[in-house]
Point group: C2
Chain length 330, copies 2
C-alpha cells in the first residue's frame, strides 16, 4: 500500500484529484495534503472526510511513494527533480518538464510504456490529452500527415478562479452591471478570446504550441505537421476541439467509427439523425471524452478526415490522467 | 429617388436593414414595410419615426424599385422570381437562390461586377460574407489552394428568438431553474452545439456546405478545396472564424498585414503585445469585420497561413451587405 500526497489540493485540479482517487478506490495506506504556509492548517472537506492541510516540506514529501503536483511550474521546477531523485514518483501537472527529452509525457491508455523506471512524470496539457484520446487510435490504423485544430476551451483551464469569473461576470452582464476581468485578458461573458497563455515569436500562443509539442512527443512523431488555434470560450469545464486530419492511408469512415467505438477512454457520440454529437454540457464530469461529427474532408482527397472531440478539462485534461499514471505502478 | 421596401422588418435582420438604411442615408422617395397578414397593421418604431407595417401583396411590391427580402426561403421562392421579372431589384437574404448559376451572389466590395443587369440578387450566408472580407484580398495576391474553417457562431444566426433564448436560459441556468431549448437543438447557455442547419448525407451540415458552395461561387473558384465545421456558441451577435489557408504563392505575413490594413470592410486588429485581436464583443455593431492572429502555419510549409476573423452577423453577415448591394444601383 502506497503513501501518497497532493500539493495544491485547494485548486480545481487538486479537488478533482481527491474525487478521482476516491471514485477509483486508489489503494493507499496514507494520504497527505500539502500546501504552502498560506493554506497550511486549514481543514477541508474531502470525499475521505475532513482533512487538515499540512505545510509542504521536502522532509515530509520525500517519505511518500507518490506525489501529485497540481501547482504552478515554478514550484515543480524547484522541488520535483529533488523528490524524484529521492525515489518519490512525482506526477507533475504543470508544464515545467513536459518538453524535456528525459521526462516522459504520459497518457496511460496510449503510451504507458514510456514510464519505464522514471520517477518524474509529466502530465500533458489538457487540450493535448483530450485530443490524443481519439487521435491516437486513428494514428495507429491510418497514420498521420497533418493535423489542424481549433479549440473551444472552457474557463476551468484557468482554475476555479476562471469558472468563478465566468459565473459572476455573466450575472453582472445580465444585470447591466460593470463586467470586470481579472483572470482573463478580456471580459469572458458572451465573448470569446483567441488568446491562452503567452504569445510566442511565431505568432502562436504557448498554449497552441504546447498542443503541437506534446502531441509530437506522446505520439513519437517529432516531425508531425500540426497546428492549433486556441480560443477561450464562455463554458465551465469541458474543452471542445474541431480537428482536421490528413492521414497516410485512405480514410475509411466506417472503420474509424468502429475503432473509436472501442477505444479506451473514448465514447463515440455520433448519431446526427438523433442530434447526438459531443458537447461540453454532456462531457462535463465524464471520464471518457466524447468524439463525433466524424466525416470525410475532401480538402485532403481520400486522406481527409474531420472530427469533433469534447472532454472534461479537469478530469481527462488533468486529474484523471494523473491518477491513471499513478495506477500504472500498482 | 427610389421606392424601396422591406419584407420581414420585425426580424433581427429586418431591424438592422432599417438601421443601416438610416445610418448610410440611403436615398429613397418611399419606404414601404411589408409583412404577412399576422404583422400587418402594426405600428413599429423605426429610425425614420413610427411606421405602419402593410400586408404584403405582389401588387404593392411590384411598384417598388428595390425590395429587400429578410424572410424564409419559401417566401423568397414564391415571390422573388415574379417580382424580379417585373423589374424590381430583389435582394434576397435567404438561401433560396444562392446556388443557382443564373443568380449572382454578391459581396459588393469583392464581386460587384457580378450584378450586371440582374434584378434577383442573393445575399450570402453570414459566415461566408464575414470570411470573404479578409480571404478575398489574400486570394487576389497569394492565390488559394486549400481553406479549412472552424466557426464560433453567435445566436443571432437564429434571429431575435435565438438571442432571446440565450439571454433567458442563461438567467435560468444561473438561478438553478430549468433550462429549456426551443430555438436550438440543445441548451445553449455555457454550452456549444456543433450543429447548424440540417445534416447532409456527407456528414456536413447545410451551414457548413453553404460556406464551401458560396465561397467557391463568390470567388469564381468552382474547384476550391474548402471545408468548414460550424459551431453555435453562447454569444449574441458576432460570428468568429478560425481559418487555415494553403496559398499558391509563398506566404509573406508582413505583406498580408499590409493588404488587410487597407482592405475594404476590414479592420486589422492584430497587436498581440497589446492583447488586440478579433473578439465578438468588439466586433458587435461594427460595419467592418475584424481580422487578426495572422501567422504562418508550418503545416503547409511556405504556403501556410492562419488568421482569425470576427464580424457582426446581422450587419456584414446580412443587412449591411444587402444595403451595399442596393447602393451599387445608385
Amino acid at each position: 500500500m502506497k503513501k501518497i500526497g497532493i500539493v495544491g489540493v485547494t485548486g480545481a485540479v487538486g479537488q478533482e484529484l481527491l474525487n478521482v482517487l476516491f471514485t477509483r478506490k486508489f489503494p493507499f495506506s496514507q494520504l497527505v495534503l500539502l500546501a504552502s504556509e498560506r493554506s497550511a492548517g486549514k481543514t477541508i472537506p474531502t470525499p475521505f472526510g475532513e482533512m487538515i492541510i499540512e505545510e509542504f516540506s521536502r522532509e515530509k514529501a520525500e517519505k511518500l511513494d507518490i506525489l501529485f503536483l497540481a501547482v504552478g511550474a515554478d514550484f515543480s521546477r524547484e522541488h520535483a527533480p529533488y523528490l524524484a531523485e529521492k525515489g518519490v514518483l512525482v506526477i507533475d501537472n504543470s508544464s515545467a518538464f513536459r518538453y524535456e527529452a528525459s521526462v516522459p509525457l504520459i497518457v496511460p491508455a496510449l503510451n504507458a510504456s514510456a514510464l519505464q523506471n522514471h520517477t518524474l512524470i509529466a502530465n500533458p496539457n489538457c487540450t493535448t490529452a483530450i485530443l490524443a484520446m481519439p487521435l491516437y487510435p486513428i494514428f495507429q490504423e491510418f497514420g498521420l500527415k497533418k493535423v489542424i485544430i481549433s479549440t473551444y476551451q472552457a474557463t476551468s483551464g484557468a482554475g476555479s478562479a476562471g469558472m468563478d469569473e465566468l459565473e459572476k461576470q455573466t450575472r453582472n452582464f445580465l444585470n447591466h452591471e460593470e463586467v470586470k476581468n481579472e483572470v482573463f485578458a478580456h471580459p469572458i461573458p458572451f465573448n470569446i478570446i483567441p488568446h491562452i497563455d503567452v504569445f510566442q515569436e511565431n505568432g502562436y500562443t504557448k498554449e497552441e504550441m504546447k498542443v503541437s509539442w506534446e502531441t509530437r512527443k506522446i505520439f513519437g512523431l517529432p516531425k508531425l505537421l500540426i497546428s492549433c488555434t486556441a480560443v477561450r470560450i464562455p463554458t465551465f469545464r469541458a474543452h471542445a476541439e474541431s480537428v482536421t486530419v490528413e492521414t497516410e492511408k485512405p480514410v475509411d469512415i466506417q472503420k474509424i467509427k468502429e475503432i473509436l467505438s472501442v477505444a479506451k477512454g473514448v465514447d463515440l457520440v455520433d448519431d446526427t439523425e438523433k442530434k447526438q454529437y459531443p458537447m461540453p454540457l454532456n462531457a462535463t464530469k465524464k471520464y471518457n471524452v466524447e468524439v463525433g461529427r466524424i466525416r470525410k474532408n475532401d480538402v485532403f482527397g481520400e486522406y481527409g478526415l474531420d472530427f469533433f472531440v469534447c472532454g472534461d478539462q479537469l478530469l481527462r485534461g488533468a486529474a484523471l490522467n494523473a491518477v491513471e499514471i499513478a495506477e500504472l505502478t500498482l
